[in-house]
């Protein structure tokens, strides 16, 4: 294998759906007609406008169409380019934002059929997250059940900003199904625009949305912990995808400090939140909020207090770095292999089993 991360497992790769029409072969006649007659298209999330530079690195952009939509380029630039042993596809399309839960559920199923037929079948290195419509948790759990028979689906995909905080009991059927089939819950950056993207209300600029994502991830972690999701599902793993991770130490300190004095409110949180994070939560590498002094990166990782929590990712085709070294400057050399190979294998049992 070539590339600078030989044998690495990329935990966040984005094949792009060209448009709603690409799903037509995978939808039943009713939805096919609805989409066609009503001219439904362009359900891309506002969090990921297809044309902004961050959404497609210049040297990875196809001549036509969306970055990430061309299988041959993805194979050349990502799978071969980084020398990957495996890569987990997280397709982003506005399924989770659709208000009609029946339509959202149909789209999720179609997305997964499309993923299996047009990507997974074409390269044995590819794996995928199951797209679900959390608007209808029972249907979402059923979709997880449906995909469980295909070992190439290794994770369940949710967004960082949805209808309700992810710890809420309404989502527990999703977690139950995920745990049953040993799939972590991947929470990817992105908003369904059900609520303002900051706690202060709607920001004016895309830039604010983007930066404020760290707060959204923090709020989800807080909610997952304190609603007792990890107490209820001790085997559940949550992977925060494109969350950044240098904010984690500070967040752990604050969460622990508050828990010590107020924990009687949530007695099922029977250990410091930071311990729960180290045990249950993982973070993908890119985009890394690179500190100005690269030495500070190692310090932040040390402050998280665990070598197990980071998972290698390129975020292909999004533009987070140049060249073929996905590790940011200052990333400890001694940790690279663990983050690129061991941690992903430990986090994704279904991936581990199909690789060995």
């Amino acid at each position: 294998m070539q590339g600078v991360t030989p044998g690495g497992i990329d935990c966040d790769l984005h094949p792009a759906l060209p448009g709603t029409a690409a799903l037509l072969p995978y939808l039943d006649p009713y939805w096919r007609e609805q989409i066609t007659v009503r001219g439904i298209d362009g359900l891309d999330l506002a969090s990921f406008p297809p044309k902004i530079p961050a959404n497609g690195r210049a040297d990875w952009r196809p001549q036509h169409g969306k970055p990430g939509a061309d299988f041959d380029l993805l194979r050349r630039d990502a799978l071969d380019g980084f020398g990957l042993r495996a890569a987990i596809c997280n397709p982003l399309y506005g399924v989770q934002a659709v208000y009609n839960r029946h339509f959202a559920t149909a789209l999720a199923t179609a997305m997964n059929d499309w993923m299996a037929a047009e990507w997974l079948d074409r390269d044995p290195r590819l794996r995928a997250s199951v797209v679900i419509a959390p608007q209808d948790p029972a249907a979402a759990a059923a979709e997880i059940e449906r995909r469980a028979a295909d070992p190439r689906f290794v994770q369940v995909l949710l967004l960082a900003m949805g209808e309700a905080p992810l710890g809420r009991q309404q989502y527990w059927p999703i977690y139950e199904a995920a745990v049953r089939h040993r799939m972590p819950i991947g929470v990817h950056a992105g908003s369904t625009a059900r609520h303002a993207t900051t706690g202060n209300g709607w920001p004016s600029y895309y830039l604010e949305d983007y930066v404020a994502h760290a707060q959204a991830f923090q709020a989800q972690l807080l909610n997952l912990i304190h609603e007792g999701v990890f107490a209820k599902f001790p085997d559940l793993r949550v992977v925060l995808i494109e969350s950044g991770f240098t904010w984690v130490p500070n967040f752990m300190w604050r969460a622990n400090k508050t828990w010590r004095g107020v924990r009687a409110e949530v007695p099922w949180v029977d250990r410091p939140p930071a311990d729960l994070i180290r045990e249950h939560v993982r973070f993908t590498l890119q985009p890394a909020d690179a500190p100005p002094d690269p030495a500070d990166l190692a310090r932040a990782i040390e402050q998280i207090g665990s070598d197990d929590v980071l998972l290698f990712s390129t975020d292909y085709p999004h533009w987070q770095f140049d060249g073929t070294d996905a590790f940011p400057a200052g990333f400890p050399a001694a940790l690279r292999h663990k983050v690129a190979v061991d941690n992903p294998l430990a986090t994704y049992p279904r991936l581990r089993e199909t690789l060995s």
Binding site: G228, K232, R260, R263, A264, P267, W268, D270
Partner: protein
């Protein structure tokens, strides 16, 4: 170590407390249903006046939404940041191995024996008919 007479039995009711200074140390003496405990009035976290905190029960849970309430009045909540301490052991709930408040031995002694000494009881007139709470500091 000296043994200090801090109160007559009956002066601190069950669920009550008395703050005293012994050998220059501020100490809280608590009555838990007839058993007495003496704790340093200094929270090991950042030095808050722990013994002035609220007495609470111990809340635990086996699953989200379930509250198991036990040992009413046996936990002491620091007035500064709310850490909970077990009055019987001095252990904090959040960090029981490493964060503990100092406990001092307490006994109940009949006045007859106290009359023989050696006890420090400057503020007391010890009567032989009474029993007294004695803290060793």
């Amino acid at each position: 170590m000296a043994r200090h007479v801090v109160a007559a039995v009956g002066e601190i009711p069950p669920g009550g407390r008395k703050l005293v200074t012994l050998n220059g140390r501020d100490i809280g003496v608590f009555n838990l249903g007839g058993e007495y405990f003496a704790l340093l009035n200094r929270c090991p976290h950042q030095g808050g006046a722990l013994c002035q905190g609220t007495l609470t029960g111990l809340v635990t849970s086996t699953t989200p939404g379930e509250f198991t309430y036990a040992r009413a009045g046996e936990m002491l909540k620091c007035p500064w940041h709310g850490w909970e301490y077990d009055i019987r052991t001095g252990q904090s709930w959040c960090d029981p191995e490493d964060t503990k408040v100092r406990l001092y031995p307490v006994t109940v002694e009949p006045g007859e024996r106290l009359a023989k000494g050696p006890y420090v009881a400057e503020t007391f007139t010890v009567s032989v008919e009474q029993a007294y709470i004695v803290v060793e500091v």
